[in-house]
Amino acid sequence: MAFLELQELTKSFGRTRAVAGLSLAVEQGEFLTLLGPSGCGKTTVLRLIAGFELPDAGRILLDGDEITARPANRRPMGMVFQSYALFPHLTAEQNVAFGLRLRRLPSAEVRRRCGELLALVGLTDRAHYFPYQLSGGQQQRVALARALAVEPKVLLLDEPLSALDAAVRVTLREEIRRIQQQLGMTVIYVTHDQEEALAISDRVAVMARGRLEQLGTPEEIYRQPRTAFVAGFVGTSNRLTARLERAAEGSWLADGPAGLRLRVAPQPGLADGTSVLLVVRPEQVTLRQADGEQTAIALAQGEENAFLGRIELRTFLGAVTRFRVRTEEGLLFTVDLPGLQAGTLIAGQRVLLSFPPEACLVLPLRENTAEPSPGNELRSQEAGPLSEEADQRYERQPEPASGRG
């Protein structure tokens, strides 16, 4: 039995169903992140676990005990809020001591543990400061120390870094991970920032419309998305809808928009004529300057998917350079190239764009499901570096002309 189990949790607010039959198991010492867009129900799940909301249906089990109806103040949970929620009238040390004093620990013990915890979060010299005298990052560290002080069985973090600036966010998320590993704490972390989720989690649960879309390690979530939603939400991707054909040839071709034909890796179990979403990560696509002879050879050989196109936009992002390329067929591709490979490619230049069949993720189109169609085996892909725009949202993805998957 898992350390924390959510069984068929359902919660509605009026006519809005925030959580729809969600089941999840979290192991002891695990760092699990609930990831999803705003309104997907991830915070509601956290609040159900914390006891701030009661589920309409379903059960919550912690270490074998059912805690579904237990009041929040009697659950062994610590909570860190997006808005810090420090008590304004208490100093950092008094905030940390609050939960300890409620447990009637001796004063010397309270002082000792406050000192330890403030040292853990690097705020020993800020012990006597009031919240308004601390920066956002420092306040959130105090909130973390306060939550850890009561030695919770599960630490819940509700978008704790959302209100902080980018540099502090990165530093603090690494600190949270370090502290979690140091203490062996079970952590459930809510965020809509996919980069944050992929960076610090043991496992990521991607949610949409109150349901669990996919649960897996960050690598699985990024490389082997099981639904169109996950493929679109996590990472930047080029997507187009197509229909599989010529199944008998082993190497399948997809009938894309405007009669475009793409070679994809064999998809055993998917029938001829199945509508699919093809997903190609920007780092899987290569670009090279188009010169007549080589281009003709590349196109004729047909081993890779290759298209002639023109660079519309070149954006330097630091580790990679991002290109927006429109093919002669009218498709719009986003391509990420490492600094050196980006070389002399400039906007307006004619290029040959190509990617191997293995770079195509093939997802059978069946909306609103967490599971892929039976028999579908997703192709493993080479993972490229996460771009700085990795948190680009599903709605904002640059898309091929075929429309959204």
Binding site: A50, M77, G78, M79, A85, F98, G99, H128, A147
Partner: protein, 317 residues
């Protein structure tokens, strides 16, 4: 103060700020001087507006047929046993009403804001109702309700959930003007509720409550140890307003046959206006002392407290 702390937080580079202030020094200083002069003038006018009537009343109280500065009237005031007795009665009533209002309103306003936000408009309307009902109507109604036959009516008992018969019994058995205290509470409601509710509005009640709950605090402990310290200025304001309202209330006390200080003042004024003027000053001073006595109870707010390292803390953001 604000500009200093902002600069320390790094919003405005110090050099840039100094340069800007140097450029604007001349007109800025002149403007500031003009503004300070205007503020002082307004303050002086307000002080005159407040102090002239008080001074005039004091002068009138101390002037009798034997000329100005006659202290015999003052001696007469203090030698009258009714003065001290009615003053104590009023103080007791004011204190009891203040306690009742604060103890009743603070948890109610907190609970409504936390769990029943949809009930807030109703509570706000109820809190404004005493403005629409004159004290004389309120007093007459309450007397009818609690002292008359209505107190024993089963319908009244049912509608009041048994409270009217209970209070009616307490009124007759205990030597405490309970109904009068409740009536005072009603007329102080608009001021007190508004003060407490405004303080609650200034903090994130829900998140603070949830944070306290996640640390193991129950409802009462959260109210006393987390919410109350953060709305203390509002509670104090509510207390002061209630206290001073009761200290000066005449109509209800008269209807309830309660011999309070304002009644004594009124009666004295009919025979000896000079003594009444002195009593008015005395009443003012007693209320002022009580109010000043309450302020330190609130304690300095953290924001205003002189804390070790306050400036350094701001600079390290």
């Amino acid at each position: 103060m604000l500009s200093l702390s902002r600069r320390q937080r790094g919003h405005v580079p110090a050099a840039q700020s100094a340069e800007a202030s140097a450029k604007k020094a001349k007109p800025g200083r002149l403007g500031r001087q003009g503004g300070a002069l205007g503020a002082r003038l307004v303050l002086l006018l307000v002080l005159l507006y407040l102090l002239i009537p008080l001074g005039a009343t004091l002068i009138f109280g101390l002037s009798s047929g034997r000329g100005w500065g006659d202290l015999s009237a003052l001696g007469a005031v203090f030698s009258d046993p009714d003065c001290g007795q009615t003053l104590l009665t009023s103080l007791g009533l004011a204190l009891a009403t203040t306690l009742l209002v604060v103890l009743l309103l603070t948890p109610t306003a907190y609970q409504v804001r936390l769990r029943l936000p949809q009930a807030r408009p109703v509570l706000e309307s109820l809190a404004l109702l005493p403005f629409a009902v004159p004290p004389i109507v309120l007093g007459t109604g309450l007397l009818q309700e609690y002292s008359g036959a209505a107190a024993s009516s089963p319908l009244v008992a049912l509608l009041s959930l048994g409270l009217v018969p209970l209070l009616s019994k307490l009124v007759t058995t205990l030597d405490i003007p309970l109904v009068l205290i409740c009536a005072y509470g009603v007329i102080a409601l608009p001021f007190a509720y508004r003060a407490i509710d405004n303080s609650l509005r200034a903090i994130d009640v829900k998140v603070l409550t949830e944070a306290a709950a996640s640390l193991g605090a129950g409802w009462w402990r959260t109210l006393l140890q987390v919410i109350l310290p953060n709305i203390w200025p509002g509670v104090l304001t509510a207390s002061l307003l209630t206290f001073s309202t009761v200290m000066g209330e005449l109509t209800l006390a008269s209807l309830f046959n309660s011999y309070t200080f304002p009644i004594y003042l009124d009666m004295t004024g009919q025979n000896d206006p000079h003594r009444a003027a002195l009593l008015a000053i005395l009443s003012f001073l007693v209320t002022l002392l009580c109010v000043l006595g309450m302020v330190p109870v609130a304690g300095p707010r953290p924001e205003r407290a002189s804390l070790p390292g306050q400036i350094e803390g701001a600079g390290l953001r």
